[in-house]
């Protein structure tokens, strides 16, 4: 009698597990990535936010710069972040005024509301992908150059937005003042654990700085990565090795498990262990690189 009552359990199990393998993957999941990006780029902002939560792949596809450029006029004027205390996502929006930038914030939740923030004299580079450490969003500042030889101000090269106070402020980058445009192009903000890091690529050396004291803006140079690797072990795929071009083709991506992930365009994707100094080539990445991944 009891056994008969329990027959629904395997039945339910079959329904839940086996139907999954039989079930055809939904049709959007089967489409090529370019098409998915095309579809998602046609959505209004709040639908895009909803779609970012659908799966990791969609989150990744809507995070790349190509997606922002596909959205055309809306290009990198919004940045989405998750507010841990309010337990909701928020959107930051930037608009250029005469000689400053007007920022607005949208709370998404039960009641959608646009709020005006104070205007600020700088705007970030790569606005849609901030480096988030604790409750601060960090970006490198995007300098507008009216003339080619304008000197970028080193004193205001990093900007920060605090989620709590909703205030912007700008700080100098670590190291010496350089006042040089190409040097600013080679700087990247990264995140290691709960600390903000700063990567700077100079000739064949990468300097990694760590922000030890947020209040006093105290940076410590913690790592030096030498890029003079064995050419036999890690050959260049393309033979053009132009010393000037060299710096521009290495891109620092992120620090993960104390490994610095870098994209070296003509050699492949590498993970450099910061403590051990070992290099690991990530093989899968070199096989095929779709065209849209190459735009920066």
């Amino acid at each position: 009698m009891v056994a008969q009552w329990l027959t629904w359990i395997p039945h339910l199990w079959v329904q839940l597990v086996c139907s999954d393998t039989l079930h055809k993957e939904g049709f959007i999941g089967l489409l090529p990535d370019e098409i998915i990006i095309d579809i998602l780029s046609r959505l209004p902002t709040d639908s895009v936010l909803e779609c970012r939560r659908v799966c990791k792949k969609w989150l990744a596809l809507t995070s790349i710069p190509y997606f922002a450029s596909k959205r055309g006029a809306k290009q990198d004027d919004i940045c989405v972040f998750y507010h841990p205390l309010a337990m909701e996502s928020r959107v930051l929006h930037v608009l250029q005024k005469a000689n400053c930038f007007q920022y607005n914030i949208l709370t998404i939740g039960k009641n959608k509301l646009w709020r005006r923030l104070d205007s600020f004299s700088y705007r970030p580079k790569c606005f849609e992908t901030p480096t988030i450490v604790k409750r601060d969003l960090y970006w490198m500042v995007k300098h507008t150059y009216e003339n080619e030889y304008n000197i970028p101000p080193c004193n205001n090269s990093i900007m920060r937005f605090n989620m709590g106070t909703e205030q912007f402020c700008s700080m100098p980058h670590p190291g010496k003042e350089c006042h040089s445009r190409p040097m600013h192009e080679k700087m990247r903000l990264l995140k290691m654990g709960v600390k903000l890091c700063f990567g700077y690529l100079d000739a064949r050396l990468i300097d990694i700085w760590q922000l030890e004291d947020v209040k006093n803006w105290l940076w410590v140079k913690t790592y030096k990565v030498n890029l003079d690797w064995d050419v036999n072990c890690y050959p260049f795929v393309f033979s053009v090795i132009d010393p000037y071009y060299f710096n521009f083709e290495v891109k620092l991506l992120k620090i993960q498990n104390r490994e610095l992930l870098m994209d070296w365009y003509s050699r492949g994707l590498f993970a450099y262990h910061l403590d051990l100094g070992t290099i690991r080539k990530i093989d899968k990445a070199r096989m095929k690189r779709p065209g849209w991944l190459q735009c920066n």
Binding site: L16, G26, I28, S47, C51, K134
Partner: protein
């Protein structure tokens, strides 16, 4: 058969062997076919692999309409487009793949816009079930994992 053809007609052969006689102006709306015609590497019959007769007929219908109605009002064309792409998911998938592979820009645009309209305003769970073939139990677990993942980034 090909001898009786007018000069500006092309024959498209679908993957299952059916043949369609199409004016060249209509066929070259596909960039892929246009390239073949321009390079003169196409004989009268152009094979269209990966696209079956059913889907190929739909694509030709779309291209014909767009070719004819160039002079017509744009709003008419828009209503035709929105009716044309209003199909089941399987047909949509086949059409998108065909349009992408054969490079028919107008059709791909209309299709992507349609799918975007379908997604617009839907909730995460709805999208997962309807478009990504998720099952209920997956949604329960993935939601759980997502919440943990979000919290991890802070503190």
């Amino acid at each position: 058969m090909s001898s009786s053809l007018e000069k500006n007609m092309l024959i498209l052969r679908s993957s299952d062997g059916e043949e369609f006689i199409v004016p060249e102006v209509v066929a070259v709306m596909s960039k892929a076919i246009k390239n073949m015609v321009e390079d003169e590497c196409a004989s009268n019959t152009i094979p269209v692999p990966n696209v079956d007769a059913n889907i190929l007929a739909m694509v030709i219908e779309f291209c014909k309409k767009h070719d004819e109605s160039e002079a017509e009002a744009a709003s008419d064309l828009k209503t035709f487009d929105s009716e044309f792409v209003n199909r089941g998911q399987e047909a949509l998938y086949d059409l998108i793949t065909a349009a992408n592979f054969r490079d028919v820009k107008e059709l791909l645009d209309a299709l992507c816009q349609n799918v975007a309209e379908m997604i617009k305003g839907k909730s995460v769970h709805h999208i997962r079930i309807q478009f990504l073939g998720y099952q209920l139990f997956e949604i329960l677990t993935s939601n759980f994992i997502w919440n943990i993942w979000c919290d991890r980034d802070f503190d």
